[in-house]
C-alpha cells in the first residue's frame, strides 16, 4: 500500500514538473478555461432573463449547480479523463505491453499515471465562486451539509471513474474508439442541469443507472440542506458494484489482449 502511495506521489511530482516547464501554455489555458466559465454564466443570465425557474430550481440554485459541475469537471480532468483516455490509446497502439511487464498492479498503473494540473485555474475560480454564490442560496451552511456535499462529490468522481474505465476497456474489442473523450464528455454534460428536468422514467435512469445526478444535482442539493443520507448509501453501493464490474471486465478483456507491436 505504501509503495503505491509513493508511486502516486512520484507521478504527481513528474506531472507537476511538466506543468512548470510549460508555464506560458498553462497561463493561456487558464485564461481560456476562465473565458468558458464566463460564457456559462452569460448563458445562465440570458436564460433566467426569460424564465423564472427550471424544474423548480431558481437562478441562484442553478448558479451553485453550475459551479459544482465546473468543480466536478476539473476533478475529472485532473486524473480520470487523462488516465482513462491514455489507457484507451495504449490498447489501440499496443503500448500496454510496457505496463503489463512492470512489477506493479496494471490497473493501478493505468489509472494513476497521469495527472493534469492545467485545470487548477478553473478549480480555484470555481471554489471562490462557490463561496461567493452560496450566500444567495437562502440555505444555512452546516458542517453536516458540507460533509454530505464532499462525500457525494467524491462518490460521483469514483462512479464516473468506474464507468469510464469500463468504456475505455471496450478498446480491447473496438479499436477505433479514438473519439471516446467526446462521448464521455457528452455523458457528463447531462449533469450540467438539474436532473429533475427529466420526467420520471428518464429521471430514475439518470439518478441510478447512468447516474449523472451525482455530477452536480445531488451534491448541490446536499449543500441546500436536502436529505442526502440515502443517496450517499446508494452512491457507495453503486460505486462498489461498478468497481467490481469494471474489474471483472478488465480481467476478462486482458486475457484477449493482443499487442499491436511486439
Amino acid at each position: 500500500m505504501r509503495r503505491y502511495f509513493k508511486l502516486i506521489i512520484i507521478n504527481w511530482k513528474r506531472c507537476f514538473m511538466r506543468l512548470v516547464e510549460f508555464r506560458l501554455e498553462v497561463v493561456a489555458w487558464s485564461i481560456h478555461s476562465i473565458f468558458w466559465i464566463a460564457l456559462t454564466f452569460l448563458f445562465i443570465w440570458l436564460i433566467f432573463g426569460q424564465v423564472q425557474s427550471v424544474a423548480g430550481w431558481t437562478e441562484s440554485q442553478v448558479v451553485v449547480l453550475t459551479i459544482t459541475f465546473g468543480l466536478f469537471e476539473s476533478f475529472l480532468w485532473f486524473f480520470v479523463y487523462p488516465s482513462v483516455l491514455n489507457f484507451s490509446k495504449m490498447i489501440r497502439r499496443g503500448d500496454l505491453d510496457t505496463l503489463l511487464v512492470k512489477p506493479v498492479n496494471t490497473r493501478f498503473a493505468v489509472s494513476f499515471s497521469i495527472f493534469e494540473f492545467d485545470n487548477y485555474g478553473r478549480f480555484l475560480v470555481m471554489m471562490a465562486l462557490l463561496f461567493l454564490s452560496f450566500s444567495r442560496l437562502e440555505a444555512t451552511l452546516t458542517l453536516a451539509n458540507m460533509i454530505s456535499f464532499v462525500l457525494l462529490f467524491f462518490i460521483g468522481v469514483f462512479i464516473f471513474y468506474c464507468l469510464f474505465f469500463i468504456m475505455a476497456t471496450m478498446s480491447f474489442w473496438f479499436t477505433d474508439l479514438w473519439n471516446l473523450e467526446d462521448f464521455l464528455e457528452s455523458i457528463v454534460d447531462v449533469g450540467r442541469f438539474p436532473t429533475y428536468i427529466f420526467e420520471q422514467g428518464f429521471r430514475l435512469i439518470f439518478f441510478y443507472v447512468l447516474p449523472v445526478a451525482y455530477v452536480a444535482t445531488f451534491p448541490t442539493e446536499a449543500l441546500m440542506g436536502r436529505p442526502s443520507d440515502l443517496r450517499i448509501i446508494a452512491g457507495l453501493m453503486l460505486g462498489i458494484i461498478l468497481f467490481i464490474i469494471s474489474q471483472l471486465f478488465w480481467k476478462f478483456s486482458l486475457k484477449n489482449y493482443t499487442s499491436a507491436s511486439s
Binding site: 501554455e25 493561456a28 489555458w29 485564461i31 481560456h32 473565458f35 468558458w36 460564457l39 452569460l42 448563458f43 440570458l46 436564460i47 432573463g49 426569460q50 424564465v51 423564472q52 425557474s53 427550471v54 424544474a55 423548480g56 473496438f174 477505433d176 474508439l177 479514438w178 473519439n179 471516446l180 467526446d182 462521448f183 464528455e185 457528452s186 455523458i187 454534460d189 447531462v190 450540467r192 442541469f193 429533475y196 428536468i197 427529466f198 420526467e199 428518464f202
Partner: protein
C-alpha cells in the same frame, strides 16, 4: 472531385466514431429538450413557444452535422507539423478547394449516420414539434444552409492559417466554437439577448451559420429579411476569401517546415 471521393472513402472508415458522436448528440438534444420543457416562464420564452424551442434544438443538431465545416484544426496541425509542404505547396491544386472538397465529403455522408438518431429523437419529442414549411421556404433554406457552411468554412480556414505565426492555435480555434455557440444561435436563440447586443449579432458572421437557417425553418423571417441575410452571407464569404488570400501570401513567406 478526386479529393471529394477520398473524403467520402475516409468518412466510410469512421463508422464507429461517428456513431459515438451521434449518440452524444442525442443525449445533448434530449437534455436540452427536457430543460426547456421543464422551464417556467411566460407564454413564450425569448419569443419562442416551448415546442418551438424543442424543434429549434432538433434542427440545431441536424445543422451541426451538415453546416459545421471547420477546417481550422486540420490546417493549423498541418502547418505546425510540416505536412503543409506536401499537402499544400507541392500539390498542383488550390489548398482552399482541397479542404473544401474534404469538408463537403465529410458533411455529405456523416449526417446519414444520424438518421437513426433523428428517428429516436422524433419518437420521444414528436408531440413537441413545429413545422411551418412551404416549397419556397425549403428553397431558401437550402441556399441559406449552403452559404452558411461556406461562411463557416472560410472563417475556419483563416483561423487555421494563423498557425503560420502562432505556436499554440487551439485557443484561437475555439473562438469559432464560442462565436457560434453564443452569438450564432447554436447554444441559445439570439432573441434571448438584449436589443443592443442583437444589433452586433446581426452584423457579425456567426448568426449567418446557425441562426439564419433556423429562423427560415421556423418561419420567423419575412422575404425582405431573408434576402438581406443572403447578401450579408455573400459579403462575409467575400471578406473571408480576401482575408484568406492575404494570410496565405504573408504566411507562406514566413513558413518553415521541420524535418525532411
Amino acid at each position: 472531385m478526386a479529393f471529394y471521393r477520398i473524403s467520402i472513402q475516409n468518412t466510410l472508415t469512421y463508422r464507429g466514431p461517428i456513431l459515438l458522436w451521434r449518440v452524444g448528440n442525442l443525449l445533448a438534444l434530449l437534455t436540452m429538450a427536457a430543460f426547456w420543457l421543464s422551464a417556467k416562464g411566460g407564454a413564450t420564452i425569448g419569443g419562442y413557444g416551448k415546442s418551438e424551442l424543442v424543434t429549434y434544438y432538433i434542427f440545431v443538431m441536424f445543422l451541426q452535422w451538415i453546416i459545421f465545416w471547420n477546417a481550422s484544426g486540420y490546417v493549423s496541425q498541418e502547418i505546425k507539423e510540416g505536412e503543409f509542404s506536401t499537402r499544400a505547396l507541392l500539390k498542383p491544386a488550390s489548398y482552399y478547394w482541397q479542404k473544401f472538397a474534404h469538408e463537403l465529403g465529410w458533411h455529405t455522408l456523416s449526417p446519414l449516420y444520424g438518421l437513426t438518431i433523428i428517428a429516436v429523437a422524433l419518437f420521444f419529442l414528436k408531440s413537441n414539434l413545429v413545422f411551418r414549411f412551404s416549397p419556397l421556404t425549403f428553397f431558401f433554406l437550402v441556399i441559406a444552409i449552403f452559404l452558411g457552411a461556406v461562411v463557416c468554412f472560410s472563417l475556419s480556414m483563416c483561423l487555421g492559417l494563423l498557425a503560420f505565426w502562432l505556436t499554440e492555435t487551439s485557443q484561437v480555434n475555439s473562438l469559432l466554437w464560442a462565436g457560434l455557440l453564443v452569438l450564432g444561435g447554436q447554444g441559445i436563440p439570439i432573441t434571448f439577448f438584449p436589443d443592443m447586443f442583437r444589433t452586433v449579432i446581426y452584423i457579425l458572421p456567426f448568426r449567418y451559420v446557425f441562426s439564419f437557417p433556423i429562423e427560415i425553418f421556423l418561419g420567423r423571417l419575412a422575404l425582405e429579411g431573408i434576402l438581406v441575410a443572403f447578401v450579408i452571407q455573400v459579403l462575409w464569404i467575400g471578406t473571408f476569401v480576401l482575408l484568406y488570400n492575404l494570410l496565405w501570401k504573408k504566411g507562406v513567406q514566413v513558413y518553415s517546415a521541420y524535418g525532411g
